[in-house]
Amino acid sequence: MTVQELAGGLGAEILVEGDLSRPVETAYVGDLLSWVMARLPEGAAWMTVMGNLNAVAVCSLKDGACIILTENAALDDNARQRAGMEDIPVLRVEPGSYETALRVAALLGETA
């Protein structure tokens, strides 16, 4: 499933397009950036409320597929700009990370 398809399935707002054709391999949830920095799997859709430049850096460093801002979290201007430069898609949804993760898991065909 591509980021574009995932965004469609979630009904997510696309804040930064980036590489929407990138396949989503898995997903990860986390807000403590240093923690995520050590654990974000490559190709993951990453659900977080951290919409700042450091979050974009973490996603770039770990080669995540996209950032999904949950609970309508804000995206800083410099983060938006940098995500565009780095080709990282940034999506935004209203539900919280738990609910969003359940939907992502269903869309990715992952079961507990």
Partner: protein, 183 residues
């Protein structure tokens, strides 16, 4: 980071890479003022004004193996998230002073963690460099200066000698416990 001590370790690497021969780490707690400040000062190669501005940008790094450097940006963010502050002063050829101030009562405060462990590791992994560690809490303080240790030990005993490392660990633990004792 999940412990500020790990962040100090990460940021101290910048001082080491900058060719510092003396690194001073000051950790000061003030309960009444609700402040914890961590200051790292080195006599390394220093930075230009432009470099100082760019080190807080995670997409700036002196490393060539990857294009992202998060040590300083995360440290700054963690301080600011508690309502604290962050500053860097640097002079080319003289060195750099980095100060992060935290508000420990804030809900987003990250625990200081094992700062003594960080100091011990910095000393034992860099036996040719000197470290001055100053730790204070509500008016009490202690210091550990590797230049003094060298004088006592003489030239033949390196700072990464296992017994010296053990002694450092014990000293830091004992002194830190004294700081925390009820007045």
């Amino acid at each position: 980071m999940r412990e500020l001590a790990l962040n100090v370790m990460d940021v101290a690497q910048n001082s080491i890479s900058a060719g510092a021969s003396l690194i001073t780490l000051t950790v000061a707690e003030d309960s009444a003022a609700d402040r914890l400040s961590i200051t790292l000062e080195d006599n390394g190669c220093g930075m230009t004004e432009e470099q100082v501005r760019s080190v807080v940008d995670p997409f700036y790094t002196t490393r060539t193996t990857r294009k992202v450097g998060l040590g300083v940006p995360l440290f700054k963010m963690e301080a600011e998230m508690t309502g604290g502050s962050f500053s860097i002063r640097s002079q080319k050829g003289k060195g750099t002073v980095l100060e992060a101030v935290f508000v420990p009562s804030h809900v987003d405060m990250i625990p200081l963690g094992d700062i003594s462990g960080t100091v011990r590791l910095l000393v034992t992994c860099n036996p040719t460099l000197d470290f001055l560690y100053r730790r204070s809490r509500d008016g009490r303080e202690f210091t550990m200066d590797t230049r003094e240790l060298r004088q006592i030990l003489g030239e033949d005993v390196p700072l990464n000698d296992p017994e010296v490392s053990e002694w450092i660990a014990g000293y830091l633990e004992e002194q830190t416990a004294l700081l925390k004792e009820e007045m």
